[in-house]
């Protein structure tokens, strides 16, 4: 069986279409993203280990964690800013990291587009919800069933 394949002469200057780059990109986005990964990584080392140390080791350590502990921390603007920075940096760092992985491993433009759409949507939801919780956390929500509330809440 003869399969007819068009084989062009070598050195004809043709580059297989898959490899042609579509114009050059303007701006420094990829450079800034690269820099951000390193800077945010460094800051995250301090934030994450500080967070783990204070929550799990200091005082009674892990046994002290409950609604009250969280509420107590978030009553202090220092820990609000700390956790806010950790949330934003980890989310943007993680999202950018996964964006890179998608770019590296998805080989169809369509796959790339949809994976990134899902990624960015998830990131937006988590950042917005997380930020909201840090600033509005109430350990004793009104109208909650009594057995779900921690002991220090005033009786309804």
């Amino acid at each position: 069986m003869a399969v007819s394949s068009e084989i062009q002469a070598p050195r004809s200057g043709r580059v297989a279409p898959k490899y042609t780059r579509h114009g050059s990109s303007r701006g420094n986005f990829e450079m800034l993203a690269w820099l951000f990964m390193r800077v945010s990584g460094l800051v995250l080392v301090v934030l994450i280990f500080g967070h783990l140390f204070v929550n799990l080791m200091v005082g009674e350590g892990v046994h002290a964690i409950d609604f009250g502990f969280v509420a107590g921390k978030w009553a202090d603007p220092f820990w609000q800013i700390w956790d806010l920075a950790m949330l934003w940096l980890a989310m943007l760092h993680g999202t950018n990291g996964v964006r890179t992985i998608i770019n590296d491993y998805a080989d169809k433009d369509g796959t790339r587009f949809w994976l990134k759409t899902v990624l960015y949507a998830a990131t937006a939801v988590i950042i917005v919800l997380g930020t909201l919780v840090i600033f509005t956390f109430n350990p004793c929500p009104p109208n909650a069933a009594a057995e779900l509330l921690p002991s220090f809440c005033p009786a309804p």
């Binding site: 003869a2 043709r14 297989a16 490899y19 042609t20 990829e30 690269w34 820099l35 590296d104 080989d107």
Partner: protein
């Protein structure tokens, strides 16, 4: 027409048996070659060649033996056979190397030796790939001296220190072992690739060249240096021992320092 000159007799007398290094050990190998011929079938397959080779032979010699004595249709590129032309990069036992620099005795000869074309470039036939996308990226970084000053009447002098700055990257033979070992390049072939960056480095850090900024701008592209994930496959693959990943990092830093 002049008469044919007679070759003068050798002045060195060698006693019989002297001059050789003794008996060269021989051994049997199985060479498994990845075969592909689009004129016959779109499917690639493996062909086995059972060969008796010597301790001084390289993978290239085994390929020659297969081609010259068993199957003349086995296709591969080679030219110098001594590691300087960069023609015969291929995947040998899963690693990118030059067939002419890989001694058979250094491989595990008890198992078949696998020889495949380098990955990420379109295979044309057997071990021959289309290098055009690779050279396209190479051309884009302008691999030639650009100097805006007056053309000197003498050689352009440079201090030993200035020359040392880019010495490592002058060694590239454009074999594509690095670029075709890079997983980022494998995905979509858009990344400029280590070899283009190495050759840009060669001029960016050359004190006689004035177009470093232009090359840094080209490599600041979204398919440029920032796609490097420091996997180090390129450094491991380079048959010239170039510190490829280090060169890429130096170019990254040069782009950053220029912008910030």
């Amino acid at each position: 027409m002049t008469a044919e000159t007679v070759e003068p007799a050798s002045k060195v007398e060698l006693a019989p048996g002297v001059g050789g290094g003794g008996e060269i050990p021989s051994f049997d190998i199985t060479l498994k070659v990845r075969r592909y011929n689009p004129e016959v079938s779109e499917e690639a397959h493996w062909d086995d060649f059972k060969l008796t080779m010597y301790g001084t032979d390289r993978v290239l010699d085994a390929l020659h033996k297969a081609k010259w004595e068993h199957d003349g249709s086995v296709s591969f590129r080679r030219s110098c056979a001594h590691g300087v032309c960069g023609s015969d990069a291929m995947r040998i036992n899963g690693r990118n190397r030059l067939a002419c620099k890989t001694l058979l005795k250094d491989l595990d000869t008890s198992k078949p030796i696998l020889v495949e074309p380098i990955k990420g470039l379109p295979v044309e036939k057997d071990l021959i790939v289309d290098m055009e996308p690779f050279f396209q990226s190479y051309r884009e970084i302008m691999p030639f001296l650009i100097n805006s000053g007056h053309e000197p009447t003498r050689e352009r002098l440079q201090s030993a220190e200035d020359r040392e700055r880019f010495d490592d990257t002058t060694k590239c033979i454009l074999c594509a072992a690095c670029t075709s070992s890079c997983p980022v390049f494998w995905t979509d072939g858009q990344y400029f690739g280590p070899a283009a960056i190495v050759n840009a480095h060669r001029f960016i850090f050359d004190s006689r060249d004035d177009a470093g900024d232009m090359r840094l701008e080209i490599l600041n592209d979204k398919e440029g240096v920032w796609r490097c994930r420091t996997v180090f496959n390129c450094t491991e693959a380079c048959p010239r021992g170039i510190q490829v990943t280090k060169a890429i990092s130096e170019v990254k830093n040069a782009v950053l320092n220029r912008k910030i």
